[in-house]
Structure formats: C-alpha cells, structure tokens
C-alpha cells in the first residue's frame, strides 16, 4: 500500500510525500550530526585525506547498494552479491596478472559480464523455477563462493603481480574526484533516474507493491525481474573490479559477508523490505552513513567491534520506522475513506 502511494507522491497535498521525504532526510540529519560531533572532538576527521578515504570506501558499497535497492524494490532480495564480488574480483585479478597489457576498460567489462551472468542465473531461478529469491540467492551465495574457492584454492593474487595502471585506477582522479567515486556517483544517479523517470522503473515499483496486480496490468514481469537481478549481479561484478583495483590483494574470500552491509545500506537508506517503496539514492546515502559510522568509530577511538552491532541496530531501527510510516498511512487512508 505504501508503494502504490509513493509512486504518485508528487501529487500535492498528500501528507505521504512529506513522510517519504523524511526517510531520506532522516539519514542526512543523522549524517550531519555524526560528522559534526566527530569533527568537533577530532578536527582531522574532515581533512582531505580522511574524506577521500571515506568516499573511496563508500564507492564499492554504494555501487552494490544501487543494484540491491532495485531488487528489494521488486520485493525480492539478492544475498549472493558478496560472493559475486569475490568471483568477479578473482577473475579480473587473475586475468590482469596474466595479461598486464589489457586496458582497464576490458577489466571493467569482464567484471560486469561475470556479475551479469551470475545475476541472470539468480533471476531465471527466481522467475522460472518459482523459487523464492531468499532461497535462490542463499544457495548461489554458497555456490559462487564455492566456485571461487575451488578455483583459487589457497592462492591469492598480490598487488605486485597486477599491472600498475590497474592499481592506479583506484587512486587516479579526474578533476580531483577519484575514478572510483565518479563511477559510484554515475551508477547511483543513473539507476535513480532510471527508477524515477522511466517507465521500466515505475513498473518495478508496481511489481513490488503488488506482484499480482502488476501481472494483471500487463507489465512484463518476467523481463523486468530478470533485468533487476541482472543489474544487481552486474553491479556486484563491477564492485569486484573496483575492489581488486583498490586493495590489490585478492584471494577467494574477497567480499565475504558483504551482503549483510549491502542489505543494511539499502534498508537503512529507506527502501522497504516489503518492496514497492524507497529510492536508489537513499540506498547510496545509506552506504555513505554506514561507512561514516565506521570511520567515526575509529576516529573517536571506540572499539571497532561496536560497528557491526550498530549496523544491526540501525537495520532494526529502519524497519521499525518503515513499519510506523506504513501504519500511519493506513490509518490516514482509513480516515479519508470514511469521509467519502
């Protein structure tokens, strides 16, 4: 129900539009408070190098969160993204260490392709196997990771085996903006625009708010769903290339457990787990918030182990808030209906 309304939230006079906006506003406020507090006690927190590190760390998470947001908006979930990142990172790192002359663009395309194939497998199993996305992606989380492990064994690709231009890609920048950050911004903005302004985006929202109604309304559910999983997989694959370039050392465990952070970023960013509502740029903000929390904990000299507990608490807080909004909307709708 929330979703059906969100799609027309631009209509004036609807109290909902205000409520929905507060979800992203909440994250921005939380970010502002966190940054202000941390900077007040440790001014170095806002130094150029520190901001750069935060943005670089956010980039990989935000790219994955953009794809995950699309899948979650359709009322599905993709838990395999961490394993896809690992598979793509190891594939690309192996390829680049064997063929140092390959240009960066090839690495990016190969990573995207590996991820897209993985995403397509998920999508086909969900749609045509009629297996719930949770089960499929839990299964492929195991399988893709297992494939990487049995391929890599205990082997790891070290930074000194990788060509220099590949490693420099992570640090090189255009007009002061690192490539990694630029890619993340392009991905988040691009997917946001696609979801907000294009027909296929609105169809994905419709599918999430009522799968049956979407089918009856003649939306090409199968095509859209495959597209959503393909996008999520491809972006996780792209994140794998960025991961390999940034960290330089890649073994079979790359990206282990990332799915939790990605889901957290999406949920904290205001995308409802019931599907049908939320925004992709909200998910990007969620990724930024999680990364800033991590950095702030380090700067404030708080035990790093608190980070995961805070992530968990934030997820719970976000779904509670989401539920609160849904209940309020239901109540206000009931009130309006009684006047008619």
């Amino acid at each position: 129900m929330t979703a059906a309304l969100t799609t027309k939230s631009k209509r004036p006079g609807l109290s909902l539009s205000g409520l929905v906006k507060t979800r992203e506003l909440g994250i921005i406020l939380a970010l502002a408070v966190l940054v202000a507090y941390t900077t007040a006690s440790h001014p170095r927190f806002l130094s150029g190098q520190s901001i750069r590190d935060i943005l670089l760390n956010t980039a990989i998470l935000a790219v994955m969160a953009a794809g995950q947001a699309v899948v979650v908006i359709t009322r599905n979930i993709d838990l395999s993204v961490g394993s896809v990142l690992g598979l793509s990172a190891f594939t690309v790192a192996t390829m680049m260490s064997a063929n140092p002359d390959l240009p960066m663009i090839v690495a990016l395309l190969v990573g995207l392709a590996v991820g897209a194939v993985a995403g397509l497998i998920n999508g086909v199993l969900v749609r045509y196997g009629r297996v719930p996305a949770l089960v499929v992606t839990l299964g492929t989380l195991y399988m893709f990771r297992g494939i990487t492990y049995s391929w890599a064994g205990g082997r790891q690709v070290n930074a000194d085996e990788l060509p220099r231009h590949f490693l420099q890609f992570a640090n090189a920048s255009v007009l002061g903006v690192p490539w990694l950050v630029l890619i993340a911004v392009v991905v988040v903005v691009g997917v946001s625009v696609l979801m907000r302004n294009y027909r296929v985006g609105r169809e994905l929202y419709a599918m999430g708010s009522s799968p049956q109604a979407a089918e009856l309304a003649g939306i090409r559910v199968a095509r859209n769903l495959l597209g959503a999983f393909l996008l999520s997989g491809a972006l996780a694959g792209l994140a794998g290339v960025l991961f390999a370039a940034r960290f330089g050392t890649v073994d079979a465990s790359a990206g282990n457990g990332y799915e939790l952070n990605v889901v957290a970023a999406v949920v904290v960013g205001g995308v409802a787990v019931f599907g049908g509502s939320g925004t992709v740029w909200g998910a990007g903000l969620g990724a930024l918030l999680l990364t800033v929390i991590g950095s702030a904990l380090a700067v404030l000299d708080i035990n790093q182990f608190w980070q995961q507990a805070i992530v968990g608490a934030l997820i719970l807080f976000a779904i509670c808030a989401d539920r609160l909004v849904a209940v309020r909307i239901a109540r206000s709708l009931k009130k309006r209906d009684s006047h008619v």
Partner: protein
C-alpha cells in the same frame, strides 16, 4: 493405493531414501567413511545443525524464518567465556547461557509478533546485532580453559565406544520436537498457521503468541548449542558458528519443509541434516576442500526447492492434457 503412492512419492520419503543411498554408497566406496571413529566425528559435526534445525523447522512451518541463530550461538559462546573469566562456576554458566539465548529469541519474537515486522528483515538485523555484541563482549580473543570433565563429556563417547555422548541429547530433543510437531494439537496448529495465518487466527489459534514462543525456543536451543560448541572445541570465541544459519536453513528446506510454510515433516528434516553432513564428510575424506563443499550445499539448497516446483508443474501440465483429451472424446 493412491494414499500409499502419494506417501512414497512425497519429497521427504525421497530425501530419506536418498540419504540412505548416500550412506550406503559412501560406506562402501569411501575409505574410512564406515569406521566407528568417523561415525563419532559425523555425529559431532552434525550436532549443531540438527539441534538448531529442530526449532527452525517449527518456525519455517509457520511461514517465518530465523536467520539470527548462528549469531545467538556466537553471543552465548562469548558470554560463556566472559562469565568463566569472571569466576562463575560452569554449573551456573550453562543454564545462564541457555537463558540468555531464550531472551535473545524473545527479542526476535517481540519484534516479529509484537510489532508485526517481517521476520526475514528482523533476523537479518539481529544477525548483525548479536554477532556484533559477541565481539563487543569478547573481542577477537578466545577463552579456552574450561574444565576437562565438561569438554571431555561433549567430545566423549558412551563407554568409550563409537556412540558419542551428545547423541543422547540429540535423540532426546528430536523425539520431543517430533512428538510435539506430529502428535499434538499444538503441532497441527503450526501447520494451520503456515497454511493460512488469518484462517488459523479466526479458528481460535493464538498465532502471535505461538510464534513468539517458537522464537524463544529457537533462541534457547541456539544458546545451548553455543555452550556445546564452546565445550567441544574448548574455545569460547565471538565468531563461533559463523554461517551456521545457512547450513541449518539448507538442511530444513532440503528436508522438504516449504519456505512458504504449512508443509514438511521432522523425519524429512533429520534426513536432510544427515544427507548434508554425510555428503560433506564423504567428500572431505576424498580430499575435496571444505570451501569447495559450499557448491554442493548451495546446489542442494536450490534443487530441493526447484525440483518439487518443476515436478508439480509438469504434473499439472499432464493433468491438463488428460482433461483436454477426455473432453475431446
């Protein structure tokens, strides 16, 4: 006849048959698989999965899920180390850990039934929260000096033979859960909830309260497994049991429990657990690396849900065709 045929063709009979087949083939074909020493290890390895799978079966039958079990295990393991370091006696620590597990389960239950939040999202949240708290309690260190008579009991066997002590515990709990699920009105009510929660509610079943207690049970068992895990490896660590929730969910679904609720049996789940454990054990004896076994686990998980769907849709097509032919005549 049709009843018998339906029985034989049901997924849990298939999985039980498959499990027996794997056990026989492995005993004959894999060196050392059939030894009594390996039997002991096999039981010890499947202990955490089978124990956590019991309440998980109940929860999935009602159409919900609990992904936080492994983190609950880790947190109780951490607390066990912390209590021990602070001089509590082991006789006090064990019930305390089970109680903590029950409380963590109650928190899940409250969020799911009290606030009406989706269990998948809630337990992904508490998965992160409980694991995080486990690290807050114990950091990345370990506590290892637990009394040997307790650690020895968990790893020991009855009379020094092949049957591990913990098998008594597994059999006892499996019997209790099996009887409750398949021979009591409470057990029937779980299927009713899973099939249609609203209808169950209108027929007088206290849906919310039932689900709440299932989460408490799940947490308590996870706490108990946290204790057993710690004693087995003589090591209280915050990362104990990482990833166990996946193995448990895989085993339950493999055992024929529907992820949508309302369907599945405990014998099927037990077969699912044994099948997974036996396959992994046999492959490991063949020197397949532990991580590569993930492919098998993942494939089985997907197939266990995919196959019944595919066969039922093929059956439906046949049925339609027969009807059409009958109509044509």
């Amino acid at each position: 006849m049709s009843e018998l045929r339906r029985r034989l063709a049901s997924w849990d009979s298939i999985i039980i048959a498959l499990t027996v087949l794997v056990l026989v083939i492995a005993s004959v074909g894999v060196p050392n698989f059939g030894t009594s020493r390996n039997f002991t290890f096999l039981i010890l390895d499947l202990m955490p999965i089978v124990l956590v799978a019991l309440p998980m079966t109940f929860i999935i039958v009602t159409g919900e899920i609990d992904l936080s079990v492994a983190s609950t295990l880790g947190l109780t393991s951490s607390l066990m180390g912390w209590f021990w370091n602070n001089g509590l006696s082991i006789e006090m620590i064990i019930p305390l850990c089970v109680l903590v597990g029950a409380l963590l389960g109650a928190f899940n239950g409250f969020l799911v039934t009290g606030l009406g939040l989706p269990s998948l999202a809630v337990t992904i949240g508490t998965l992160a929260l409980y694991r995080g708290l486990a690290f807050v309690v114990l950091g990345d260190g370990a506590v290892a000096d637990f009394p040997w008579n307790y650690t020895g009991w968990v790893t020991g066997t009855i009379g020094g033979g092949a049957v591990p002590n913990v098998l008594i515990l597994i059999v006892a709990l499996a019997l209790i859960f099996g009887v409750v699920l398949h021979a009591t009105p409470f057990g029937r009510s779980l299927y009713a909830i899973g099939a249609n929660a609203q209808a169950a509610h209108f027929s007088g079943i206290r849906v919310a309260r039932t689900k709440f207690w299932l989460y408490v049970a799940s947490g308590a068992i996870a706490g108990l497994v946290g204790v057993l895990w710690t004693l087995r490896y003589s090591s209280a660590r915050a990362d104990n049991g990482s990833g166990l929730e996946l193995a448990v969910v895989a085993a339950v679904l493999l055992g024929g429990v529907s992820i949508f609720g309302g369907r599945g049996t405990l014998p099927g789940v037990l077969a699912g657990v044994v099948l997974l454990a036996a396959l992994q054990n046999a492959l490991r004896l063949q020197d397949v690396s532990g991580q590569a076994l993930n492919i098998v686990t993942g494939a089985l998980l997907v197939l266990s849900v995919l196959l019944p769907n595919v066969t039922s849709s093929i059956r439906a097509t046949w049925h339609r065709r027969r009807l059409r032919q009958a109509a044509a005549h």
